[in-house]
Amino acid sequence: MEPVSEHIIIQRILDGDIKAFEDIVLKYQDMVYTLSYRILKNHEEAEELAQDVFIKIYQSLCRFNNKSKLSTWIYRITYNKAINKFKSQKRQIITTEINDKSEFNTCTVADVLFEISNTEKRQIINESILSLPETERIILTLYYFEELPIGEVAEIVGISKQNVKVKLFRSRQKLYNKLKDKIDQEITEYEYN
């Protein structure tokens, strides 16, 4: 969707065309839901929160200024709502230590990921992503999946660019270690069976 057409859609919504809001929901529902799920780790809660996010977007659309991208604004609302819900639930944040396993042969992890089935791959990767601290999950998703520039990621999560870079580096290492541990576990289980 071009920025110009998004601007037109927004104007139509503001003029009272509720149906035009469907285009916004359709375009962003997957990413809003993914970000919600990656913070809350619960499908029902993520869906409920994603709905709340779109209602908030609809109600606040008149306050959206075209200085920032619509996607950045939507993801920022999603992140803030999800993180607030997460904090209110007072869940234990399981932090992962960065073990220095950088010297581990990176080819092994890549090779094993290549060999196993897609469903298994997705399960292993998703579990590993979900075991990271919530902000790091979001930063990794936005940077590597959505391929947003560092500046936009910083705007969404409300931290400095430098901080995003540091968190990216740390979360990359953590995710890699997580994946390695899971794969080692998978290999051991496979050999045992």
Binding site: L14, G16, I18, F21, E22, V25, L26, Q29, D30, M31, Y33, T34, Y37, R38, A46, E47, A50, Q51, F54, I55, Y58, Q59, S60, L61, C62, S102, E103, T106, C107, V109, A110, L113, N118, K121, R122, I125, N126, S128, I129, L140, T141, Y144, F145, R172, Q173, L175, Y176, L179
Partner: protein
């Protein structure tokens, strides 16, 4: 060390792409739209404030004042008497003497006060009418 970091970055990027995006339930769009239908757009939209007197109005007032002064100077009138109001102003001034504390009020003060009240009432009626239109 840099090669290792690059490898890790490449692998993490591939892994996250593989993880793909989560999808909400099929009914998600309908649920959102049902909720949105039940809502009105927030009323705190930017209120467009139109001036009570438009630029045409101000232009008219300006031209009228200039025309009055031009006519007065054309006919050689150097002063204007508001003697018509004098009797009313004197009546109001006489009321002040009935107060326990003697206060003397000048004519210019009373004229200004009347003008203020007069324009204030006009303004209130205009604002009330405008608010009803919004």
């Amino acid at each position: 060390m840099n090669t290792t970091n690059d490898n890790i970055e490449g692998m993490v990027k591939t892994a996250i792409k593989m993880a793909s995006i989560e999808k909400p339930s099929d009914n998600f769009l309908n649920s959102v739209m049902d909720k949105v239908d039940g809502l009105g757009m927030e009323r705190d939209q930017k209120i467009i404030v139109n001036p009570l007197i438009t630029w045409k109005g101000w232009l008219f007032i300006g031209v009228t004042i200039i025309a009055i002064f031009a006519l007065l100077s054309f006919f050689g009138i150097s002063s204007v008497s508001l003697s018509y109001f004098d009797s009313y102003i004197d009546k109001v001034r006489s009321i002040s003497f009935s107060f326990p504390i003697s206060i003397s009020i000048s004519k210019i003060f009373l004229t200004g006060l009347f003008a203020f009240v007069f324009f204030f009432i006009i303004e209130i009626s205009l604002i009330t009418r405008r608010l009803k239109d919004i």
